[in-house]
């Protein structure tokens, strides 16, 4: 049984601001020796920010962190390691081309008197550590030859090698099979009995109730509640995670649905998603909800012609189409606003007008020659509708705030006058004001007969905006619900697969 002691690690009043967004507002978190604390929250609740603050990647704007009673400034990852904090990430951050032993001891390898790496000792120590956690891995093997589960074991051995007091596990089971997950649980038990304080981040309720001793719930960067896991249940946790007033904030639907525009049948991909079928009408907003990694973006990429489906077909306006590239998709009136603005959505070094004109060049140019006046007119028309705030139309997009960048990306796609627009996490990381503008605009577009697909991981947004919601889990379509029948709890349960596990 957990013993009540003073916490190993304590964060008090942590504030972290990003331009236009407050990622953490005065949150507190305490971790105890020999206990697992589950950190729970929706995407965007601030979980990753906390991990980055604790591992010295971000510096908090306010607040204090103490480790074993000593106040610490974690300004670099090295500071965090010195304070005894280590993190095991969802995708392990290790070195593929180094050996297992090198990965475990990188940065603090044992050396000989001449200052050279003492390979014998390093390999022996690595073997001892690996044996302690029950891993049957050759210390001399290259990391890239290992499976994900074994890579996690290496990461854990590394945590032990630096004598960490605090181990952060960020969705460690996301990519593991059931058997590997069981082995990981055993390991967590072992870390607990070694007296480590563990911060466990997970979306899966069954595992939270299986291995956690305590819980902490974040929502919108705020601490909502914490306590002992035995004193709560999944319904309460979900309530804390999503408990927001959904009504009133979002513009209501006023238009009637038009005729069928998009029909997708049995779309499949060798690894990412399987058997996706749905239809979409003009004037409709169709939401796609699911956890990160559920295959929603991958499915949208296939619809947009970036990747090819391995099976299935789609028709636009009753005509069977095969989209081989984004250029094909745009020609058929289907456009995609990607999730990653900086990498996929905008060309940040180019100006607002260049970005907006790019997919519309065929319309703004004449026989291959660009017409600047047409480009500026087009950019002005759509930035006005989206209430973009910028110094000038020739300002580089990279200088704008996140919300205004997103407006440019949406404007560039609307300028192509599409029939179907896919918005992937359209309001991720943008400020409240821009969010409301994007939402109002989506509704306006739908009422003008545009068909909208919105991928979102934010419960209020998906419920507030969608006429219909499809839930995906592990690449499959697991539920489809209409706007009037949906509850936040039902969505979270479907996305996390809770009905399968018997929950306390």
């Amino acid at each position: 049984m957990p013993v009540e002691l003073s916490p190993v690690l304590s964060m008090q009043g942590i504030v972290k601001d990003f331009p236009g967004v407050r990622a953490l507002s005065s949150v507190s978190l305490e971790l105890y020796a020999g206990e697992v604390t589950a950190l729970v929250g929706e995407n965007g609740a601030g979980k990753s920010t906390v991990v980055k603050v604790l591992t010295g990647i971000y510096q908090p704007d306010q607040g204090a962190i103490t480790v074993t009673g000593v106040a610490r400034q974690l300004t670099t990852p090295k500071d965090a390691a010195r304070a005894g904090i280590t993190a095991i990430h969802q995708e392990t951050v290790l070195f593929d081309d180094l050996s297992v032993a090198e990965n475990i001891f990188i940065g603090h390898a044992p050396v000989t008197r001449l200052g050279l790496v003492n390979w014998q000792k390093m390999n022996d120590d690595a073997a001892a550590l690996l044996e302690r956690i029950g891993a049957s891995v050759n210390p001399k093997a290259l990391l890239k030859d290992l499976g994900i589960a074994n890579k996690h074991l290496v990461a854990i051995a590394r945590a032990l090698s630096i004598d960490a007091r605090v181990v952060i596990m960020d969705e460690p089971t996301a990519a593991l099979s059931q058997k590997e997950i069981e082995e990981l649980y055993l390991l967590v038990e072992q870390l607990k009995s070694d007296g480590k304080a563990i911060l466990f981040i997970s979306h899966k309720f069954d595992e939270i109730f299986r291995i956690a001793d305590r819980y902490t719930v974040f929502r919108d960067g705020e601490l909502i509640g914490d306590g002992l896991i035995n004193d709560t249940n999944s319904a309460d946790l979900i309530q804390m995670m999503v408990g927001r007033t959904v009504e009133g904030v979002f513009p209501p639907r006023t238009n009637d649905l038009g005729n069928l525009i998009l029909q997708v049948n049995n779309y499949s991909h060798p690894t990412e998603f399987e058997d996706i079928s749905f239809s979409l009408n003009r004037g409709e907003i169709l939401g796609f909800y699911g956890l990160v990694g559920a295959g929603r973006s991958e499915c949208m990429h296939a619809l947009f012609g970036i990747t090819r489906p391995s099976a299935g077909h789609m028709s636009i306006d009753g005509e069977l189409v095969s989209l081989k590239s984004p250029a094909d998709a745009i020609a058929h009136g289907l456009v995609y606003v990607p999730e990653d603005r900086g990498k996929q959505g905008a060309i940040t070094a180019l100006s607002i007008v260049d970005n907006i004109a790019l997919p519309s060049l065929q319309n703004t140019s004449h026989k291959g020659f660009v017409r600047m006046a047409h480009e500026f007119a087009l950019a002005r028309k759509f930035t006005q509708r989206l209430e973009l705030k910028a110094a000038a139309l020739d300002q580089p997009v990279g200088e704008l705030s996140g919300g205004n960048q997103q407006k440019v990306v949406i404007a560039k796609w609307l300028a192509t006058q599409p029939a179907i627009i896919i918005l992937d996490e359209p309001t991720k990381g943008i400020d409240i004001g821009s969010k409301a503008a994007v939402h109002a605009f989506m509704r306006e577009l739908a009422s003008q007969g545009l068909a909208v697909i919105m991928v979102s991981s934010e419960i209020p947004e998906i419920i507030g905006m969608s006429d219909r919601i499809i839930v995906m889990r592990e690449g499959r379509q697991v539920a489809e619900v209409g706007r009037d029948d949906v509850t936040p709890e039902a969505l979270v349960k479907a996305a996390a697969g809770i009905e399968e596990a018997s929950v306390a």
Partner: protein, 335 residues
């Protein structure tokens, strides 16, 4: 952050700065100053510099390389590089020499040259754009390959005996001291200016160089554009090969050896970002003239070739380092 940009879209200007301010802040403006300084220095250094016929001869220092440099500029802006250009010149020249032995006339020689250049470019383009291989590796490979073929065909021999009408391209004068090559150089510069800055193709090239993923997502057919750029680079190498072969009147396999680095230097000096995404044809145009004048001026002073290359190297490093050093210093002050 928003308060920094108070403009609503309705009252937002098209451009933040006027044309004059943009010109003064540009790389091209700096280059023009450098060009004027070198011109002035040259007039002081040698009394022979300001002779019209000398100046006319001096243009051969850069006109042929600059023709390729314009195509190279586009390739580099798209985020790729073509190091095989000088070897394409050699292979094209060899092909023309071979054709001369078979009795082909001048118009046929031109067609053969363009076809061989385009085929070489298409081969590069296929490997880079279609197969997705890194262009630096591919074109280092074809750099050896194309010149290797020229060596196999020619050995230590040389082709000569080009028809008299062929001599015009490299030796002809259009009017007074104005050479055919100079006119061709101006025409090509104008064409590339329009291509890069005034067509949707040029826009696509810039977009790809800045962010190939976002360009793909914006519906640009990235592989097709890259393929066309390599073909263009091959064709421009062929045109340069015609001029050079015509000027020399013969073909050896070592023709134009080492040009690729001089051309890349010219392009980078012209303000084309070596990492892709930005740059102007005007910059390359001025850089070509600057490099030509430097070579000519040092030649008049009887400076040996190796010292010239030291000078060119230092010039290149300086112009690349300067903006970076200034930006870092500014950041330090800002912090």
């Amino acid at each position: 952050m928003n308060s920094q940009y108070p403009n609503n879209a309705s009252e937002m200007p098209d451009r933040l700065h006027g044309p004059l301010a943009r010109m003064l802040a540009s790389w091209e403006f700096l280059l023009i100053i450098v060009a004027v300084l070198i011109f002035f220095f040259n007039t002081q250094a040698s009394p022979y510099f300001l002779d019209a016929w000398n100046l006319s001869d001096a243009t051969f220092n850069f006109t042929e390389k600059a023709m390729i440099a314009f195509a190279m500029a586009l390739v580099i802006i798209s985020g790729e590089i073509d190091l095989s250009v000088a070897s394409i010149v050699a292979l094209v020249s060899t092909s023309m020499g071979f054709a001369v032995q078979l009795g082909f006339d001048t118009p046929s020689l031109i067609l053969i040259a363009i076809a061989v250049g385009a085929a070489c470019g298409a081969f590069n383009g296929f490997l880079v754009a279609t197969m997705g291989l890194p262009s630096i590796v591919v074109t280092i490979g074809t750099l050896s390959l194309f010149r290797g073929i020229a060596y196999i065909v020619l050995g230590d021999k040389a082709y000569s005996g080009y028809p008299d009408s062929f001599a015009f391209f490299g030796q002809g004068y259009v009017w007074w001291v104005i050479t055919f090559e100079m006119v061709l150089f101006m025409i090509i510069a104008a064409i590339f200016y329009v291509l890069l800055h005034r067509t949707s193709f040029g826009r696509s090239v810039k977009a790809i160089g800045n962010n190939p993923t976002a360009a793909l997502f914006a519906g640009i057919r990235v592989p097709r554009v890259k393929f066309m750029l390599f073909v263009l680079s091959g064709i421009m190498s062929a045109i340069a090969a015609i001029c050079l072969t015509s000027r020399l009147g013969s073909t050896r396999p070592s023709i134009a050896v080492g040009w690729e680095l001089e051309i890349v230097t010219m392009v980078v000096l012209g303000g084309i970002n070596i990492l892709g995404g930005s740059g102007t044809i005007l910059g390359v145009f001025i850089a070509a003239i600057v490099m030509g004048m430097v070579t000519f001026g040092l030649g008049l002073l009887n400076v040996p070739g190796i010292v010239m290359s030291i000078f060119t190297g230092l010039l290149l490093i300086t112009v690349i380092a300067l903006p970076i050093v200034i930006r870092r210093a500014r950041q330090r002050v800002a912090n």
